[in-house]
């Protein structure tokens, strides 16, 4: 009886009435409980938790020095930094004041007309403050575009070789005898057992490891002027050297992928050594604690005797966005986070990341022996190599070039597995040229 009366009064029945009621109630709730917006004066995005933690620790000292300023450090996932920042730039909404961008992604933010790039040019302020000359010069290379510098380098990321000292000793490998890659490969072939043990962790299907060999030879994807050089003779020479290390019957390298597997592989002796930039040394200490005292570091073998004993892997830039209402204040944040020597030393102890500010390396923290690395002075090993770190020149097309190079490596490895050395050089040359042509097609149609 009651229902009938109800349905007479509401001709569409109880369900729509309930929907309207729920909508009204939730609407009212949201109206009176709006989502809290950040009250911060400045917001900094970072994608790395090992950056975020020290930055958060540094907030109180910055806020004390700048009364009335509220700084917020937000940890945003690496992929999300890429997509959210791009969307934020496009829509002019929720753009952070400062943001850290990973080196391989930075170039893509410099695409389009210079006035549309979302970051301010830091060159004038770097020159004015004198920091330009105090920073490792090669680290500006990835963040330069059309004569401007859009990012402050966070790191140097020199590369060394980390090895299982205990296993090397067991196998009778004397690292002092390893001066060139040829020495390394010769010994590697003696000790590698397919499917059981490999001299080094190297990938046959992505460009990450290959790049280090390429940079060590002064090669790269682009030159200082932004011209594509991924198919030059240096790249070919590197490819011809690299592929037999990861494919074919005499390979000395393999890879397994993610960090958990990597841990298992190092602990079990599947990898005797691996390429280790400064940031990875901390990851190793954290992820593979059981290897403490059994690991050691050595400079990379040189391409030729007396040659460069390092390369580089990874990097981060800090950019100040054009949406920032107070770029001067944002610069002071950057200065506080990147150039405070005492904090940099403490941060080095926590992260093992070598800062690009050269005067900072004089701090005793960089000469402390590390028990995990068999008592070696980790900081000094990296710092001694820092000035020799090769540049990585970038372009808005860097990700395309890297992706094409990964394809070249995969296909060359597959060819080498099937055919060995026969016809390999011609195949590798043709694949490099084809990949570079694809990248050039993209570049040529770019109207900006």
């Amino acid at each position: 009886m009651k229902n009938r009366l109800f349905s007479v009064e509401l001709p569409f029945g109880k369900a729509p009435a309930l929907l309207v009621l729920v909508t009204a109630l939730t609407g009212l709730y949201l109206f009176f409980h709006p989502v809290e917006t950040s009250q911060a004066t400045l917001r900094l995005w970072t994608f790395a938790s090992n950056h975020a933690v020290p930055y958060q620790k540094a907030i109180p000292s910055f806020e004390t020095a700048h009364p009335g300023t509220q700084l917020e450090v937000q940890l945003v996932h690496g992929d999300a930094v890429n997509s959210r920042l791009r969307a934020a730039f496009w829509a002019d909404l929720d753009v952070p004041d400062l943001v850290e961008v990973e080196i391989s992604r930075a170039g893509s933010f410099f695409r389009g007309p210079a006035e549309d790039v979302g970051f301010i040019d830091l060159m004038p302020i770097l020159k004015r403050t004198g920091y330009y000359d105090r920073i490792v010069q090669t680290r500006f290379a990835p963040y330069r575009n059309r004569g401007r510098i859009y990012g402050l380098p966070h790191d140097v990321h020199p590369v060394v070789l980390a090895y299982r000292r205990d296993l090397f000793e067991e196998l009778g490998i004397d690292v002092r005898q390893i001066r060139t890659w040829d020495d390394f490969v010769r010994i590697g072939r003696e000790v590698s057992v397919p499917g059981e043990r490999y001299m080094i962790e190297l990938s046959d299907n992505n460009a990450g490891h290959f790049e280090m060999f390429l940079f060590q030879r002064d090669g790269g994807y682009f030159d200082a002027e932004g011209a594509l050089i991924m198919d030059n003779e240096v790249a070919l020479e590197t490819l011809l050297f690299f592929i037999p290390l990861v494919a074919g019957s005499e390979r000395i390298g393999s890879d397994l992928g993610s960090s958990r597997l990597f841990t298992q592989a190092v602990e079990s002796g599947y990898f005797l050594s691996f390429i280790c930039p400064d940031w990875r040394s901390k990851g190793t200490e954290t992820d593979i604690p059981r290897m403490g005292g059994k690991m050691a570091l050595m400079p990379l073998p040189a391409v030729r005797a007396g040659g460069r004993r390092t390369s580089t892997w990874g990097g981060t830039m800090l950019g100040i966005t054009k949406s920032c209402p107070d770029p001067e204040l944002a610069w002071q944040v950057a200065e506080h986070m990147y150039f405070n020597k005492a904090e940099l030393a403490e941060r080095f102890r926590e992260t093992n990341i070598l800062p690009p500010l050269k005067d900072a390396w004089e701090h005793p923290a960089f000469d402390e022996p590390r028990a995990y690395w068999s008592g070696q002075k980790l900081g000094r090993i990296y710092a001694d190599l820092a000035d020799d770190v090769p540049p990585q020149y970038a372009s808005p097309f860097i990700e395309t070039a890297k992706s094409k190079m990964a394809g070249v490596i995969s296909s060359c490895a597959a060819y080498y597995r099937e055919n060995g050395r026969e016809g390999f050089e011609e195949f590798a040359r043709a694949r490099l040229l084809a990949a570079a042509e694809e990248v050039r097609r993209y570049i040529q149609r770019n109207p900006y």
């Binding site: 992505n206 097609r441 770019n446």
Partner: protein, 299 residues
């Protein structure tokens, strides 16, 4: 006053009720579709900077090796979906439709359940299964052959597609089986009895009674699987750690669209890819429906 209120309510209430859908549809479906069509004639760097290039995006696409690779991979996947997945689904449905099988409901749920967990979860699960050296698959193979196996299922260009197909089989065979089961249960039992009287064996009954009886559902499942296959994205994207896999072996058309639109920032080229895909799927679906005589039957 009350009478006027109820009269107005009668007249306008339906419009108010459909308004949320219509507004959302216009804003988030129709407008983006129209906008993407116009964008496909521009090279863009985000929505702010656009340069009109006419048909150039489509011309570039025509000669783009990466797009060719994406189309090849997607077609390979779609073909395996139709020619491997659907027969398996039908086979399972036939098996689980038989009264001779005990615990049919349990098996039906068991085979269907992988679909409940979603593509991303399945992708994560299988990326662990395919791990080289320590992964489940390699460990099983190791136990079978007795020597250490460190096959890189997701690191070898030749093995990526088989790995994706295997994963999708696990996920979708049971799902499509449900459609076939429903169709099988709607086939008139008397037709089977008549066929038996006429001396038809099991195979002839399947060809002359079962298949015609489930044809409309089979066409529906085939078209749906084809369209779904051409939209493949999450599975390879997650399994291959946000990349297109070695030598683009896991690159699909939608993934290529994503890379261009949201990584490279060229929404124009991404729109051109999207419209090409739409046209391709439309043509294939129409061809499938024509070949299977869907319209003829309806006429």
């Amino acid at each position: 006053m009350n009478a006027l209120f109820f009269r107005l309510q009668h007249r306008y209430a339906p419009y108010l009720f459909v308004a949320p859908f219509v507004i959302l549809f216009l804003t988030f479906t129709l407008y983006p579709i129209a906008k993407s069509l116009s964008l496909s004639f521009y090279i863009t760097n985000g929505p702010k900077s656009q340069v009109f290039v006419g048909w150039d995006n489509f011309r570039f696409l025509w000669g783009d090796p990466a797009f060719h690779r994406a189309v090849w991979n997607t077609c390979t996947y779609a073909l395996t979906s139709v020619f491997l997945q659907l027969p398996l689904s039908l086979g399972l449905a036939l098996l689980l439709n038989s009264r001779l099988v005990k615990g049919r409901n349990f098996f039906r749920f068991g085979f269907f359940s992988p679909h409940l967990v979603g593509q991303v979860f399945v992708a994560v699960l299988f990326s662990v299964v395919f791990i080289p050296k320590f992964g489940l698959l390699n460990r099983v193979l190791h136990a079978l052959v007795g020597t250490a196996i460190d096959t890189k299922w997701l690191g070898n260009p030749e093995l990526v597609m088989p790995a994706l197909v295997l994963t999708s089989l696990w996920m979708y065979v049971g799902f499509n089986m449900i459609y076939f089961l429903a169709a099988l249960q709607s086939v008139d039992r008397e037709l089977y009895e008549a066929a038996q009287v006429d001396g038809a064996g099991a195979f002839k009954q399947f060809v002359h009674v079962t298949l015609p009886g489930i044809r409309s559902v089979a066409v529906f499942v085939t078209v749906l699987s084809t369209i779904g296959s051409f939209q493949l994205f999450e599975l390879p994207y997650v399994m291959l750690s946000n990349t297109a896999g070695p030598d683009n072996s896991g690159l699909t058309v939608v993934m290529y669209l994503f890379q261009n639109g949201f990584i490279a920032g060229d929404l124009g080229y991404a729109s051109a890819i999207g419209w090409t895909l739409t046209m391709g799927v439309l043509v294939i679906s129409l061809a499938q429906m024509r070949l299977t005589g869907t319209w003829k039957r309806e006429d």
